[in-house]
Symmetry: C2
């Protein structure tokens, strides 16, 4: 006997917190929600497909966690406060153990950020998860990726490259380093720091496709270029130990970091450092925004560095740029 669609929703996806701003949650044709006055709505959506966004044999808990985390990271990059999520789950079969574990991962992270699941959809098909997260930001305060200006200092949070290294270990059939694997499977969306950063007028983007690719988007949108100092990108001890020569490539080209890359006026760098300390979040100044288009990578010895990538693209056989 199969588990019916409605049973799935009731059994696994209705236990959770209740926000006061959810007028109608799961159980009607649509959710009804209250955006607080003086705030704008912020909406992000991402689809995760098995074998593309997580390894085929990933634990269901991690898939549930990550499907929400990647969207929270987008909200962090806008400086928004997360509030509500919807989940579209396409599954080859309704396996109770898998569903329980997936829901555990999803709701553990949701509870940490006060997010309520307000709607969704379950369908039979190849495993695919689409999560949409909605939140809000004080009117006019959302961070943008098109507002970087020449002379601004360029920063990144955390230690990029960890996730890509773990994925490479898995794909090589090796046992992934536990620290790196945790970074791949359970990224920490930088929501609190993003909220604080929005007050500085920063231009920001989240790093999901790889630092260079996402920095490239920020520069393109802003009509600027930059000089990047690759040696200044923080590197975790685990990546240093595991990565060898390839560590820098993973840091620049890897993807799946869910860190924030942002540009602020030079006089704001002290304030930004204080905000990061308050969140116990390591950040590093890794370059400078410039008028001239393009990205120049300069090592500490003054030599220029040519990265072997410009990012990750789901459909490109060869990158056009």
């Amino acid at each position: 006997v199969g588990v019916s669609e409605f049973d799935i929703i009731e059994r696994y996806f209705q236990r959770q917190l209740r926000r006061a701003d959810v007028v109608r949650g799961i159980g009607d044709d649509a959710a009804v929600l209250e955006v607080p006055s003086g705030h704008q709505l912020v909406v992000s959506v991402d689809t995760l497909v098995a074998g593309r966004h997580f390894p085929q044999r990933s634990h269901a808990y991690d898939i549930g966690y990550k499907s929400l985390a990647v969207n929270l990271s987008d909200l962090a990059a806008m400086g928004a406060e997360p509030a509500w999520a919807t989940l579209s789950l396409t599954l080859p079969e309704a396996d109770p153990g898998w569903l329980q574990s997936f829901a555990d991962g999803f709701f553990d992270l949701a509870a940490r950020f006060g997010v309520e699941l307000v709607g969704g959809d379950t369908t039979r098909g190849a495993l695919s998860i689409t999560v949409q997260v909605q939140g809000f930001v004080e009117t006019g305060r959302a961070m943008r990726r098109d507002s970087a200006r020449p002379g601004q200092a360029l920063f990144v949070t955390g230690t990029p490259g960890d996730a890509a290294c773990a994925l490479a270990q898995i794909e090589a059939g090796a046992r992934a380093d536990p620290y790196l694997l945790e970074r791949l499977n359970r990224p920490h969306p930088r929501v609190a720091f993003g909220r604080a950063l929005a007050a500085t007028g920063a231009a920001a983007i989240d790093v999901s496709d790889g630092l260079l690719a996402d920095l490239g988007h920020l520069l393109d949108a802003s009509g600027c270029g930059a000089t990047l100092r690759p040696d200044r990108i923080p590197r975790s001890p685990a990546l240093s130990a595991a990565g060898g020569e390839r560590a820098l490539v993973w840091q620049l080209c890897g993807g799946d970091d869910y860190e924030l890359c942002f540009a602020v006026n030079a006089e704001q760098t002290g304030r930004v450092a204080a905000l990061a300390r308050a969140e116990a979040l390591p950040i590093a100044e890794i370059g400078v925004i410039e008028r001239a288009a393009g990205l120049r990578c300069v090592l500490e010895d003054g030599s220029s560095y040519q990265p072997p990538c410009s990012g990750y693209d789901h459909f490109a056989d060869e990158r056009a740029d």
Copy 2:
């Protein structure tokens, strides 16, 4: 050479109207939107999978159209005004002709309802489309499915069963009747009527899983039962001609109608009829809400009728109820 993810978005999904309440649309980590004061946000999401929600060989235009239409129908059932959509598109390959046609279907319908695409995601994988639509409703005015009360009159819009008949013709390898096929592929979400109906205090649900299944949801949520008069469900001439003995089964059990089923106080029936006339939308009174749980189908000759279904469920091998 493949079409890159970013090219897809730019080429096919950026031509469209610009709403004044879209502060940031496509092109940042998340969209930034303005909900008008005195209104609540209404959110619906649905996933369409090839072979389940549309025939495998459906025209891309129809898939694009329908992926939006099914969500607009949910908003109609809430009495909400549609405003914004996001689209998560998972595709086996980036075929320019397919994408162009899909986008045409999506945007033709979006333009008709003033909906702006504000975000999305493209991924490679088995064909699957998740659309989320957001709109708003005057605070406290959203129609619910749990507010039906004994004595209320039960209505349905349009002519249910058309889509199911077309699908059966396709599945039988026959050429589908053009009128019925149009009803299957390009349902008309009852948005304007739903907006008007909300003012009557109706309890409403959209008919997507089949009239009996969705009426069952409305009754369960409301803690009521009903007597349904199957003979009074409007039947299109095309369905009468094509359906024979099975027409009633498709009307009750078929699914994919995207009509509204609703209950209103008896003294509102005249007003409801006038609202429907104003929208040139046929509606019919098909039964009455009752205190006793369960659904009783009574034919015009007074005999009771036992429908061969209680609805459609993506995961059920056998229905539990």
